[in-house]
Amino acid sequence: MSVEEGIALLFLLAGCAFYLAGTIGLLRFPDVFCRLHALTKADNVGLGLVCVGLALLSGQARVASMLLLIWLVGLLAATVSAHLIARHAYERDAPPEHEGPS
């Protein structure tokens, strides 16, 4: 195993660790809002680290730029879906008289 492969392996393992932590948060946190925190943030970092590991393994700038795009699109999907789920959960649970934040 070369040095590059060793570093890439560390990034991949760290990425998997963040995914695992996000899943544990999904199971342990008490409600839908807290669970969304775990899924969006931990998985975002996990995906980023996996992309860095794969980019190092490929050693090609073009593959790295595609992985960067994949990460950015993944971020966009995660944050938009988290906002939509949170808004739906808030509107479902909030009584009509508490429609505003104040």
Binding site: S65, T79, A86
Partner: protein, 173 residues
């Protein structure tokens, strides 16, 4: 909807619509280059131009001046904050005592509506301890779900940064 589009078609091209079209064209061309390299640009450039022109006709946004260096600084800031956010929530999820004090907090947005507010609403969910829930009062108040009461400070930092990137007046500290 028809009236609005007809109005836009009738007033096109204006300086703002041309600026928006140019920015979308450059962004789409860069995406093409990231995906395909410099090969096939003879197809990518016309495709990017067609997409930018159609987008300008039917879904034009407010163009802002580009500050590439500021965007670079912002990318570094966002990268650091999102790593902090992921590490923070992973630590809280794994901690035996589950150290969270979740609460909803209203946040008064001082950024202009449109792209800056959309970016703020989207990126809040990737910052340490905050989740954007809903916009109120014509996009002036964002309801934020915070894992700890002090987490709202990261939204303020993000808003100041976005105001600087877009050249908007900086919110009060």
């Amino acid at each position: 909807m028809v009236t609005k589009n007809a109005h836009q078609l009738g007033t096109w091209p204006t300086a703002k619509s041309l600026a928006w079209c140019g920015q979308v064209f450059v962004a789409l061309t860069l995406v093409w280059i990231a995906l395909n390299g410099f090969e096939g640009l003879y197809a990518g450039v016309p495709a990017a131009f067609a997409a930018a022109a159609l987008g300008t006709l039917y879904a034009r946004g407010q163009p802002y001046p580009w500050h590439p260096l500021r965007w670079l600084v912002f990318a570094g800031f966002f990268l650091l904050e999102s790593v902090k956010g992921g590490t923070d929530v992973a630590w809280r999820a794994l901690h035996p005592a589950l150290k969270i004090e979740p609460e909803f907090q209203p946040y008064d947005i001082e950024l202009p509506p449109g792209l800056p507010t959309t970016l703020l609403t989207s990126l809040v969910s990737l910052l340490p301890g905050t989740l954007s829930v809903r916009l109120f009062e014509h996009e002036h108040v964002l309801n934020v779900h915070a894992l700890t009461p002090s987490a709202i400070d990261s939204v303020r930092r993000l808003e100041r940064m976005l105001g600087w990137v877009f050249g908007a007046p900086r919110p009060n500290p």
